[in-house]
């Protein structure tokens, strides 16, 4: 008798647990929107630390040289999801400096990689780039401005928790990349170098 009651209670409890898992837990789990909005503008810094399924992507705005050569154009691309602000910033910058194919043209010299990335509590990001960003830089104030603000805008636009970005090269502070833009201080977002058109180029990743 008591065994039977126990079995019924156990089966009932298991059934209830299964019901809750199937109809309440899983829909919530899968239905939960990532804290990184499709526009890529949500605060990834505040993203929860739930484990992400492998291959998960977010939409982020990356920056490439506009046709006029004097401004940047904003392109929405898929970027791997990163855990927290630092990881997400690293994924965004890695995607930003990666080689691109026509019609995109990057202001970041080919071969540049991200060596390290830190974010302070004050929201300053320090991005350490490989030496190619200097050695392969073609020079010119305009090119240099576009290189610098490609990285600065890619981080500050996609991660509002980051307010300024200081570029380092090969682990060290540098005065400039090519003799013009002052890199001794963190730089804030600058949309002056963004082409004014509203339309955005969408490309496949």
């Amino acid at each position: 008798m008591s065994k039977r009651v126990l079995a019924i209670v156990a089966i009932g409890t298991a059934g209830l647990a299964l019901f809750l898992l199937l109809f309440v837990g899983l829909p919530r789990w899968y239905g939960r929107k990532p804290r990184i909005a499709p526009s890529g503008t949500a605060a990834a810094a505040a993203a929860p630390t739930a484990p992400a399924p492998p291959g998960r992507k977010i939409k982020a705005h990356l920056y490439y040289v506009a046709d006029d050569g004097m401004r940047l154009t904003r392109v929405e691309r898929d970027v791997p999801y990163g855990e927290g602000a630092v990881e997400q910033a690293r994924e965004i910058v890695s995607a930003q400096v990666a080689a691109v194919v026509d019609p995109l043209v990057s202001a970041v010299p080919a071969g540049t990689t991200v060596r390290a990335l830190f974010v302070t509590e004050q929201g300053e990001a320090f991005v350490d780039l490989s030496k190619e960003v200097v050695s392969a830089h073609p020079g010119g104030t305009m090119n240099e401005l576009l290189t610098v603000y490609t990285i600065v805008n890619a981080i500050t636009e996609n991660l509002p928790a980051v307010t300024s970005v200081q570029l380092l090269v090969d682990g060290k502070e540098v005065e400039t990349l090519a003799g013009h833009v002052d890199l001794r201080r963190p730089l804030t977002k600058n949309l002056n170098y963004l082409r004014e058109e509203k339309e955005e180029v969408k490309t496949k990743n």
């Binding site: 020079g139 010119g140 305009m142 003799g179 949309l191």
Partner: protein, 468 residues
């Protein structure tokens, strides 16, 4: 305000010693749309916008930052903006040329030839010399009718300061100068004066008309006034000097050098060579024509640290710093010259110019203003922008300009300059066509001339500003 339709007044208000103009007046005159939304005032003209923020001297003009001498202020329902708003914010987005001449309280709309006229009288023994300058250059014809000399200028209107000449007394042969009609002035001379000789001589951007007046007792008959042959220099007494100048020294900085070649041209030329060659020409022309000392931050192909370039200008108390560069773009078709003025973020601007109390010789304390080396340029940004605007005006039609000719950017070499400073990009070496042009005599000659003219106009502006 002066336009093809004639003259009309534009009301000004004085707030804290700053001249302001009503945005509503500007809106009705220039067909602007003004929107006052939360925390910002947006002024639009044909799809281009100016965004003003109350209590802020920085404004965004079609996406570019400009600085105003004072923030916009609200008076009742009206917004007032400093008159410089016209030159710095409205001019870049307006499709007709606007020229604000603050000392003359004149706003010129459209391509009108409105030379500024100044006059000076010098006694030369019993004779006299009347010097009349028209800037920019305007030819004139001189005619005499008894005691009256009429000078008619080839112009649309004249910009004449309140009094062309202070009240004159004997032995001056000139009794008064007055405006006759929109393009003529009349010089009243003493009765039965001996005659005159007039000669025009171009002087940089100015046409100088020298009228030699003979005293009444002279028996020599009057020579025909107009189109008289220019006197040989020997005939002119040596009293003709350049006016005192607020610009005595200019530092020209040929970009890059030594191991740092700068941008590489599509056909292999190097930025460092081009900038040095152009800087040398600039030095030769400015020193010869304007008598201004020009210091080069490098005289040959060598490495010079960015701080050392500005240090040379600062320690020599240069009045102007011009860094010369050549640009490059990953897009090979981009071309045209650009002028850069330094940009600072808000935190940096706030930390500049902090007064500190330090012990003084002989005891006690005194306040001194501490200007961090890196932020020395902040206090000169207004003048730097003014010079950049003058450069852009002089480049028009002479030096091909880029799509965004004047920009603000955090450029390292400008930040420590303790004087008005700009960085000029001559053009794009990455563009094969432009690379050839930049190396040529025609381009370099035109560039040097335009830069020299801009220096002359800047000097005039400084003179007018300080003499007020």
């Amino acid at each position: 305000m002066l336009s093809r339709d004639g003259r009309r007044p534009l009301p000004l208000s004085l707030v804290n010693d700053q001249e302001y103009v009503g945005l509503d007046d500007l809106a009705s005159t220039f067909q602007l749309t003004v929107q006052d939304s939360l925390g910002a005032v947006t002024v639009s003209y044909k799809g281009k916008t100016i965004v003003l923020t109350p209590d802020q001297t920085l404004a965004s003009v079609a996406g570019r930052l400009i600085s105003l001498p004072a923030p916009p202020v609200r008076q009742g329902r009206r917004w007032l903006v400093p008159v410089e708003f016209i030159a710095r914010a409205l001019t870049p987005i307006y499709d007709t040329r606007l020229e604000l001449r603050k000392p003359s309280r004149l706003l010129i709309v459209g391509d009108l030839r409105v030379p500024r006229i100044t006059a000076r009288y010098d006694s030369v023994g019993p004779a006299g010399r009347l010097t009349i300058d028209a800037t920019p250059r305007a030819n004139s014809t001189v005619s005499q009718d008894g005691d009256r000399i009429t000078i008619k200028f080839d112009a649309d209107a004249l910009d004449i300061p309140g009094a062309l000449l202070p009240p004159q007394s004997p032995p001056s042969l000139v009794t008064a100068i007055r405006a006759a009609d929109p393009v003529s002035i009349i010089v009243d001379v003493v009765p039965r004066f001996g005659g005159l000789k007039a000669a025009a001589q171009p002087l940089e951007n100015t046409m100088r008309l020298a009228i030699e007046l003979s005293p009444p007792a002279q028996t020599e008959p009057a020579t025909p006034p107009a189109n008289a042959p220019p006197p040989t220099p020997a005939e002119l007494p040596p009293a003709f000097g350049q006016p005192t100048t607020p610009i005595r020294t200019i530092t020209i900085d040929p970009g890059h050098g030594g191991e740092d070649g700068g941008a590489k041209g599509a056909n292999g030329s190097k930025e460092k060579d081009l900038t040095l060659s152009v800087a040398r020409r600039v030095k030769a022309v400015i020193e010869a024509r304007l008598g201004i000392r020009v210091l080069l931050t490098r005289e040959d192909d060598r490495n010079v640290a960015l701080d050392d370039r500005t240090a040379l200008a600062n320690t020599n108390k240069a009045d102007l710093f011009v860094s010369i560069h050549a640009n490059a773009s990953v897009r090979k078709t981009v071309s045209g010259a650009s002028i850069f003025v330094a940009a600072f973020d808000r935190d940096a601007a706030r930390s500049a110019g902090v007064a500190e109390r330090v012990p003084a010789f002989g005891g006690g304390l005194r306040d001194i203003e501490m200007v961090p080396w890196d932020l020395a340029q902040i206090r000169h940004l207004d003048k730097s922008s003014e010079f950049a605007t003058l450069l852009e005006q002089q480049f028009h039609d002479h030096v091909p300009l880029a799509m965004h000719p004047t920009e603000q950017a955090p450029l390292r070499v400008l930040e420590s300059a303790n004087m008005p400073a700009v960085l000029i990009e001559l053009g794009y070496l990455s563009n094969p066509e432009q690379e050839k042009v930049l190396a040529g005599d025609v381009f370099q000659g035109a560039f040097v001339q335009a830069l020299t003219d801009a220096v002359v106009r800047f000097r005039e502006s400084l003179q007018n500003g300080t003499s007020r």
